[in-house]
Symmetry: C2
Subunit: 711 residues, 2 copies
């Protein structure tokens, strides 16, 4: 066995003594995510797989290929219980797995893009082919996924290409170890320990991302510290980049726009100032000297108090193009965020991004991509798509989704997000007629963008299971899979994830998938039905539809729902803010008329009288109550569904999710009570039968909420 | 085997595939702390132990005894590789372990206090005897420790009693998941998940503490949120208390003094106001209804901006006694902190606690204990003992040590703290003549205190290994052991911890112990030699001896070291602040004279000319340089020592500590350079031979430090 230097068989005997205590390492703790590779129970299936996986062929010492081969070896060891040798050449042997780069043994290379892969059966070997090493790495994970989900290997023939080029995670992590909007512990990045100490977790983070095809990570908060641009910190980031590199992941930084002043000692950060431009060019040079594959910069500027080019009378394009210039000698890009809005009480925040960016179309450097949140406000449980999509044909637009559950119940609500992402991606912008979906804007097929990207605001943290809620792992997974291929269905992704993570038992898979697929609508029902939005103050956890005081009007709750004695909702038609005018005529037509506007978007665009009869046959008030009550009740249904899969999944994960569902149920009722009691003061109508009046008063609900506003 | 329901044998085959990737669960990650229970390699020794541990006898269903028996079973399973049955009655069997409460089979019960234990060989069984179930639990851990450190069992005869009654951890944890002065990730307490979800970690936390004899935990920051006193949060705390209870651990809360206003809706929090007193009495009733063994309240009041009784013209005793009154019907206590100082530029912060508390001796309720930090300032690397010790004979004083390394290099410096704790405990206050040590004040033997307590500010966090730096686990361990028995030596504790955690190989144990025992002095040498203190601004990480601006004078660095053209140090003799007058005459005599004052305390009490010749034969300036340089160089020695134990400990821990030592070395040189370059501007003397001038300028050092002051 010429692979003895790579492989080592270690057998641990772990003896568990009592029925009441399961300590690590035998206690399932979710750390392994969907890369569990637990032994396949069915010996026949195991043997069948083993016949096609007798060895792994990899030629040369390329670190990405080595990572691919290592992962196959780890995975097969777990799944099949066998140590599979890695060899340099198959010779005449058959029944193995061959990793092949470039003009490999398959004929159909032309079907592949730079990072795509092809898995096929050829000369009685399984060949994983890619034009680049990264393609092969993704193929290796793709092959393992086939085994994890119990697909046959003998006739395998798979071609898969990523639809967008930059598939990124954005970490809103701070220097002090906290994460803005993180609900799974603190940051993964141990800045005080870097660059010398490398947490073993960094590599497992990279493996998980590579398994999805994620190829970039912005390690720090968009509300950025200039600290990350100092030589001291660039060394730390270089150490992370080194761990990530064999997994095809490039590191990016969020930058603090006035850094030339803060740490450069200059008197200005004006993007047209020659000294400022030189400072950034020098800084890029310094970074690339240590991180040759550095990805580029992500920028939040002139947004929510962050400084930017407008402080110097310049516009977003001036700022972005200056940074693009600094990156000119390198293979790096600028991701410039379009999340902007001014503190104007008369304005509609919905319109702000389009107003600032619409006229800049075509003004950005070729290395710039404008990163747009899926909706016009801020990651609400349901939002219409941002009007920018389809309206900037000359400017590549990146999609920014939020994986972390800032507005989705933190770590105690089960909300499977693929339906949120898919709903947005599949919406037709009509930018170039029918079938101009958001997905086609983002993947570049509509406007022929030179750069394409998707970004997900990460939900990872230092919690042992990475994401707090065990089911939130599925959101990381789903985001990554959709960044790779936006045509995958929410259901298909759920099925994959469940099989890889929880169980392969068909009935249980079906039940859990059902639970997941309904979870978002259930959340919307008790949280923000019919197009309500943002019933929060700063904490984004507890219901506060009554919240009416803030330093800015658009940081109150009443700004969004506009409840009054007449009705509820934000009039964004021509009689109101006319935000709808920012969309294509076909979209306007769909949403402009309160009679025909789909109910999920109704209150986003219309101020609707309480007594107005909706398509459901109920008045607005009755429909709202119905949704709040059935939404909260549905969490009870979720608990029942979950209880039925108890015997199909490990006891730790079962108990964890069951406990969180209990919390969710309690909190869903809290949300329901808050909304109906508050809105009732405007609607002045009784709770319709068969629903019972909340047992508590509005004041009592408010007192409960106030707890979460204390320091 | 009648214990089959308790015991289950599960064998896991973990197959590790590659030499480059060790994933969980086979990767050592430090989670198990000193309770590793790894299989004893020497089969002969294993067999010898097994002969004395063939069964475990426990009678009845008491949960604390069950925890003790379970722990023995877990431990023996790991150490001996055998499943040891738990049985209800030994009958005529011999060769087992018998847990006995109260008037058990041993004759010498009178030697035991409430939580003490006795382990003895009797009728060919090993009997663990305690007056209470907790005593037996501590004895079970004590017996396991014997095996873990490879002591013979056959002739065992051990009696151990805790010297103080309340042995506590103080967690400075916030509601948002952060820890004030925490360097090992975020909080352990998942407030948003409680009370429904119980992190399995809570139980392992309790096990670790019980193994040391820690019997109380204050779960929240002394800069307290009123949130913890709401019904919503009391339920969460009750859920934690339920997990801790079988391990003899009671839960305490830090309280926000104005809570009756904040959450009670009252107009005042005046401790003499009847409504306020009723509010606290009702609150205590509400808490005890859910947590019958609730421990009591910890209070930071009129300190660093926290409100307190002085806001209403009352004193500390008024505030503390009001809370004691509320706890009167219950077995709870009030821990009132003496960490107070006013923002008076002319005052000496050193004197503040004594000035506020000295006159209150005898004024406190019997349920109150005043909790005093070991030194008069704030957990510096070296401080003289607080003048309060020995000066409040009628008021029980608790010792507050800091385990978390706020001023000891966070998570990248190896500083074994037992020598810090011991140095303080062994200092003679001369309060009642010779041998009136701080230890004897704290354990009550000097003044006959009715209550005795020790508190350690915890260094635990959500990092997988609990404490960030693997060697910082030893500080948690050492604190717990000293809280139990302040006569243990730093060396004995180090040896125990190393054997239980890292290795039993004698040479390696010796080498690591040597490293640990010298580590504090090395740190002091490069950080704050000769009695320097507090060269920090808010971050408490980077050197800032030049820091001279703050909202308060006593929050600058220059306030403490008082460098000028003449010399260095704070004159606290009668020619200066006269803080020394707060000590007993014998102590004053020792420290009052710059000629005879021990060098470690010199600059705490004297402003010493740069050219003054010290007992070492060097001038102050030369001695300072010598210490800074040898201190930084000694970290190189630490690295060499560590390299020599590489083959004796697991590779993950080895690599982790080695990397942190590398960081420490870099930072130690940074500290050295900062101090010598800064002080040189006052001393105006060259760096003495053989030491070389730092390669960087003071400005360059300052720029490096400035990075850590950016957001």
């Amino acid at each position: 066995m010429n692979s003895i230097k790579y492989s080592k068989l270690v057998v641990f005997l772990l003896l568990v003594a009592t029925s009441t205590y399961a300590g690590p390492p035998d206690r399932e703790d979710g750390y392994r995510l969907w890369l569990k590779y637990d032994l396949i129970n069915d010996a026949g299936q195991r043997d069948a797989y083993a016949r096609s996986a007798q060895f792994i062929v990899v030629n040369g010492n390329n670190p990405v290929l080595k990572a691919a081969a290592d992962e196959l070896q780890i995975g097969l060891q777990g799944l099949l219980g066998k140590s599979i040798p890695i060899i340099a050449n198959a010779g005449s042997r058959t029944g193995g797995i061959v990793l092949a780069v470039g003009n490999g043994p398959t004929a159909s290379n032309q079907e592949l893009n730079a990072e795509g892969y092809q898995i096929s059966s050829r000369s009685n070997n399984i060949v994983i082919n890619g034009k680049t090493e990264s393609g092969v790495l993704y193929g290796a994970f793709g092959l393992l996924r086939q085994l994890q989900t119990r697909q046959p290997l003998s006739t395998i023939s798979l071609t898969s290409n990523p639809k967008v080029r930059y598939r990124m995670l954005n970490h809103w992590d701070n220097t002090n170890g906290t994460i803005e909007r993180g609900y799974a512990g603190g940051t993964l990045w141990k800045w005080f320990e870097l660059p010398e100490r490398l947490d073993p977790r960094y590599r497992d983070y990279a493996r998980a991302n590579a398994s999805l095809g994620i190829n970039g990570t912005v390690v720090n908060n968009v509300n950025a510290s200039a600290r990350f641009l100092t030589g001291e910190y660039i060394q730390k980031i270089a150490a992370l980049a080194k761990v990530f590199r064999p997994y095809g992941i490039r590191v990016y930084l969020s930058i603090y726009f006035p850094a030339p002043k803060t740490i450069g000692g200059l008197k200005t950060a004006d993007p047209l100032d020659p000294e400022v431009r030189k400072w950034w060019a020098d800084k890029a040079k310094e970074i690339y000297a240590l991180i040759p594959d550095f990805g580029g910069f992500l920028v939040k500027a002139n947004s929510e108090g962050e400084p930017g080019p407008q402080d110097y009378g310049r516009n977003h394009a001036d700022g972005a193009n200056m940074l693009a210039d600094a990156l000119k000698p390198y293979d790096g890009i600028v991701l410039w965020r379009a999340f902007v809005y001014k503190a104007d009480p008369k304005a509609d925040r919905f319109k702000a991004a389009y107003e600032e960016f619409g006229d800049l179309d075509g003004k950005f450097d070729k290395k710039v991509i404008v990163q747009v949140k899926n909706g016009p406000i801020d990651f609400q449980p349901r939002e219409p798509f941002s009007p920018l999509f389809g309206k900037m044909p000359k400017t590549p637009l990146a999609m920014e989704f939020q994986i972390t559950q800032e507005y989705l119940g933190f770590a105690t609500h089960m909300v499977y997000e693929a339906p949120i992402f898919k709903e947005c991606l599949e919406t037709d912008t009509y930018a170039k007629g029918k079938n101009s979906t958001v997905a086609r804007v983002v993947d570049g097929s509509l406007h022929g963008y030179a750069i394409t990207a998707m970004a997900g605001v990460a939900n990872t943290g230092s919690d042992r299971n990475w994401t707090g809620h065990p089911m939130a792992q599925a959101n990381w997974y789903a985001y990554g899979r959709l960044a790779w291929d936006n045509t995958l269905s929410a259901e298909a992704i759920a099925n994959e994830w469940i099989k890889m993570t929880l169980t392969n038992e068909p009935q249980a898979v079906k039940r859990i998938a059902d639970l997941m697929l309904r979870s978002r609508e259930i959340y919307v029902n008790y949280n923000t039905p019919l197009g309500l939005s943002r019933p929060w103050s700063g904490v984004h956890f507890a219901p506060e539809p009554w919240q009416n005081k803030s330093s800015r009007p658009d940081w109150t709750a009443i700004y969004y729902h506009r409840a009054d004695s007449v009705g509820l909702g934000f009039d964004r038609t021509s009689t109101g803010s006319n935000a709808l005018a920012q969309y294509s005529p076909e979209v306007q037509q769909r949403w402009n008329n309160a009679e025909t506007c789909p109910l999920p978007y109704l209150l986003w665009f219309h101020h609707v009288p309480w007594t107005k009869k909706l398509a459901t046959g109920r008045t607005l008030w009755d429909e709202l109550c119905t949704r709040f009550y059935t939404g909260a009740d549905s969490v009870g249904w979720m608990q029942q569904q979950w209880a039925q899969v108890k015997n199909n999944i490990d006891p730790e994960t079962y108990a964890d999710v069951a406990a969180r569902l209990e919390t969710q149920h309690k909190e869903a009722i809290w949300w329901r009570d808050a909304w109906v009691l508050y809105l009732q003061e405007y609607a002045r109508q009784p709770i319709p039968a068969p629903y019972k009046k909340p047992k508590r008063t509005l004041d009592e609900v408010k007192q409960l909420v106030d707890i979460y506003l204390l320091r």
